[in-house]
């Protein structure tokens, strides 16, 4: 489990097709913990591809979130389509230089190599665990004596604890992690019993240099560089494999010159003042379509907390039907949340965005 690396601001938000995306897990964690923004994970998790409960990279930010981050100067917007077209597909020398291309490829090769040796080691570990289990069940006949040397009793006893939390995530479908049932007295027979020849083959692979596995990276930065990126990636990294390789770090002349040719601020709906108001008060806001409102307001990280309010933003002089209040109030009360409406109160002659936001909570009285 690699702890998130620190992210230096401003970080890039990638815009494409009027959406605002984040790809770097470090940035996603950073935005979550430092800026109280969750966004919505819209990608699939390759380690658990057949479910919709846990999703993965990329993270889609609401335009409101992207706008607020840019206004706080914590982030800037990058036109990702142009960047990729220029970097990977222009043949006239404007794209990546040959050195950058080779650097990119060698960095991928490095990752692939690490992955290959990790995979080999895992197969090895699995074999050991399986063998020690065989030894424990007393089914001695099938295994040559020397094989028992691989797994000692201590490994077997430790195994359940070690296995449970971490490695399941890293090993995809290929590895079938041990479940608790396996440790019961009447253990299920193992589906796959390694034959000695197989075992020796894998160990030989592990000991010799493995061929690198092909890798599909998550982000394109590097090799691409966005104009404002602060120079080298932060060195305070506990795991070298997850940080960018030094060979691909940017050349000094491309470094932060906050250019004014940035993309325009993200267009936001009329409920933006309410969003900002709630966010300033440390609420986490998530899109609320599923609950029949504009935003769900959480008192803390939605990972841990239930939401308190269903929020709808309104213009100060907007007219709306009384039924909206009744409906919203009932809906909110029905799911044990408050229904909250709010808007920006504008005094005479004031510019937009300067007024105070006032909010009203509505609850069903149930007299």
């Amino acid at each position: 489990m690699a702890a998130p690396n620190t992210v230096s601001e401003p970080f890039p938000i990638f815009a494409l097709a009027h959406k605002y995306l984040l790809y770097e897990p470090d940035v996603i964690s950073h935005v979550r913990s430092k800026h109280n923004m969750t966004g919505v994970l819209i990608g699939g998790l390759p380690q658990a591809p057949q479910q919709n409960v846990f999703l993965g990279v990329p993270l889609e930010l609401m335009p409101e979130e992207a706008r607020l981050l840019v206004e706080k100067k914590a982030a800037f917007i990058v036109d990702d389509v142009q960047a990729h077209k220029k970097g990977f597909m222009s043949a006239d020398g404007k794209g990546l230089s040959p050195e950058e291309r080779t650097a990119y490829q060698s960095s991928l090769k490095e990752k692939g190599l690490a992955a290959a040796s990790r995979a080999a080691k895992q197969t090895d570990d699995r074999k050991k665990a399986a063998l020690s289990k065989l030894a424990a069940t007393g089914d001695w006949n099938d295994i040559p004596e020397d094989m028992l040397q691989l797994g000692s009793r201590s490994t077997r006893q430790k195994k359940p604890k070690v296995r449970a939390p971490a490695p399941d995530i890293k090993t995809s479908g290929s590895a079938t992690p041990a479940t608790d049932e396996e440790d019961s007295l009447f253990s299920v027979p193992l589906p796959h019993r390694p034959s000695p020849s197989e075992l020796s083959r894998t160990t030989s692979i592990a000991s010799s240099a493995p061929t690198p596995y092909p890798v599909t990276p998550t982000t394109s930065y590097p090799p691409l560089q966005c104009g404002l990126r602060p120079p080298p990636p932060p060195p305070r990294s506990s795991s070298p494999s997850s940080s960018a390789p030094p060979s691909a770090s940017s050349s000094p002349q491309r470094v932060p010159t906050p250019s004014k040719s940035e993309l325009p601020l993200p267009a936001v709906p009329a409920s933006y003042p309410l969003f900002k108001h709630m966010h300033d008060r440390d609420y986490f806001l998530a899109p609320g379509l599923r609950f029949g409102c504009q935003y769900m307001a959480y008192p803390g990280d939605p990972l841990r907390f239930h939401s308190h309010f269903l929020c709808n933003g309104m213009g100060w002089d907007d007219e709306f039907a009384l039924l909206d209040i009744v409906g919203g109030g009932r809906l909110g009360t029905g799911v044990k949340k408050g229904f909250l409406i709010g808007g920006e109160e504008k005094a005479e002659g004031e510019r937009e965005g300067c007024g105070a936001v006032r909010t009203f909570g509505i609850e069903w009285g149930g007299m």
Binding site: M1, A2, A3, F14, L16, A17, K19, L21, P25, I28, S29, R32, T38, V40, L41, I42, G43, G44, P46, Q47, A48, Q50, Q51, V53, F54, G56, P58, D80, V81, H84, K85, F88, M89, Y104, Q105, A115, A119, A164, D168, I169, K170, S172, S174, T179, T211, Y213, P214, T216, T218, S220, P287, L289, R290, P299, G300, D301, L303, R304, F305, H306
Partner: protein, 419 residues
């Protein structure tokens, strides 16, 4: 997490209609449990109400965040054994692969005909599988496919640089507009959500165009099949009865219910039914096709087949189980009757089972389509059905006693009348 195991629901198996785990952010620490075989997910309700600044709470949150970060940091690695390489084709914004292996490819991708293939009939055409943008993106995300940029001269080997997930999003979604493609984020997230749930999803013919005017199968069949004859005859009998009554009402000089002897309430109710209703079974195909238009925001986008259908074939997919129209919640308002009407008109006639319980018939309707409303990556599915309230007459329920439930209802009605 002892208490987490108490309230568990099986991961596979039918999801209750009111509990959708993806509604709320789930604790990523349970992902590990999910990857294990036969895993259980915790029910919702494991969260706290509000922060109370205890170390326990903040530690739990930190652990959840760390688990999430770890899950997100997963690297897509291709096993050499099942490694499939595809190449990006910028002109069409698609990707192609030669002889891809794996069960997923039996339901996606297509070999183009010599006329449609951008490379023409070059001998390898039969092995070349073209993948649509959403298919490529889904496969990359899943870690199944290794897509390469088109190779330049300086690249060694056959393939170009590996395309990252980010690059794939930038090209296959970001570039769609310039390619006149119709794949949007909303459409993609519906596609990938359904794929992850195991459905087979293909583009509908109305993907990028109004499509053909409603065909024969969009209207009730004219020929009566034998098993329908009885009931339909009854209804047409009533209809005839209506027609004569209707002309009687128009005269205004008689009371609606002429004084006389009535043996049951049904006859009276029938006479009271003055208001016309929309009858989906009475729609007929216009002899001359009308100028058919529909709103681009409300078109059937995907045809969807249930998971585990053994008969599905790419070349002849057959009738889809569901038709889904993807709607962007932030750009469109609640559809008007006209928009919904157009959408429903072009969907095939799918009457409820004869003799089904009353409420089920209303729910099923005579035509239906599913709206997938997407707000910032969060999808809600709504089923819109053309139900015929006018055809399900409450006072007539006693007459049809075919179904179990109908029979019970009839019994109740009978007792009521007897008193």
């Amino acid at each position: 997490m002892a208490d987490a195991d108490e309230d568990v629901i099986p991961r596979s198996g039918p999801m209750g209609e009111d509990t959708d785990l993806s509604d709320e952010t789930q604790d990523f620490r349970f992902l590990a449990a999910l990857s294990a075989e036969d895993a259980k997910l915790p029910k919702r309700g494991e969260k706290d109400f509000e922060p109370h600044a205890t170390a326990l709470q903040s530690n739990t949150l930190a652990a959840s965040r760390l688990a999430m970060h770890t899950a997100l940091s997963y690297q897509r690695i291709h096993q050499p054994k099942g490694h499939t390489v595809a190449t990006y084709h910028p002109a069409t914004n698609m990707a192609y692969a030669y002889n891809p292996r794996g069960p997923l490819f039996s339901k996606m991708g297509q070999v183009l005909s010599a006329r449609d293939d951008p490379f023409g009939d070059d001998g390898k055409r039969g092995q070349r599988l073209w993948l649509l943008p959403e298919e490529v993106l889904y496969l990359i995300e899943r870690g199944t496919l290794d897509v390469r940029w088109p190779s330049l001269e300086e690249d060694e080997g056959e393939f170009g640089l590996p395309m990252s997930l980010q690059g794939a999003y930038a090209m296959f979604l970001g570039e769609e507009e310039t390619h006149d493609g119709a794949l949007t984020f909303e459409r993609y997230s519906v596609y990938t959500g359904l794929k992850r749930a195991g459905y087979t999803v293909l583009r509908a013919p109305t993907w990028n165009s109004p499509g053909l005017p409603p065909k024969e199968n969009c209207y009730p069949p004219l020929l009566r099949r034998t098993w329908q004859t009885g009931l339909l005859d009854v209804s047409s009998f009533w209809k005839r009865l209506f027609a004569t009554e209707g002309s009687g009402h128009a005269s205004h000089d008689k009371p609606i219910i002429v004084p006389g002897l009535y043996r049951n309430y049904a006859e009276i109710y029938r006479r009271l039914a003055l208001i016309d209703f929309h009858d989906p079974t009475a729609q007929r195909q216009p002899p001359v096709p009308e100028n058919f238009t529909n709103d681009p925001d409300f078109r059937v986008t995907y045809h969807v087949w249930k998971p585990g259908s053994m008969t599905f074939k790419k070349s002849a997919p057959g009738t889809p189980d569901f038709r889904i129209a993807v709607v962007d919640a932030r750009k469109t308002r609640v559809p008007s009757l006209e928009q919904l009407g157009d959408l429903l008109e072009a969907s095939p006639y799918d009457p409820p089972r004869e003799g089904a319980p009353f409420s089920q018939k209303l729910k099923n309707g005579y035509k239906n389509v599913i709206l997938a409303v997407v707000d910032q990556g969060v999808t809600s599915y709504l089923r819109i059905a053309d139900s015929a309230f006018g055809r399900e007459r409450l006072y007539q329920r006693t007459f049809r006693g075919s179904g179990k439930r109908g029979g019970r209802g009839g019994g109740r009605g009978g007792r009521g009348r007897g008193r």
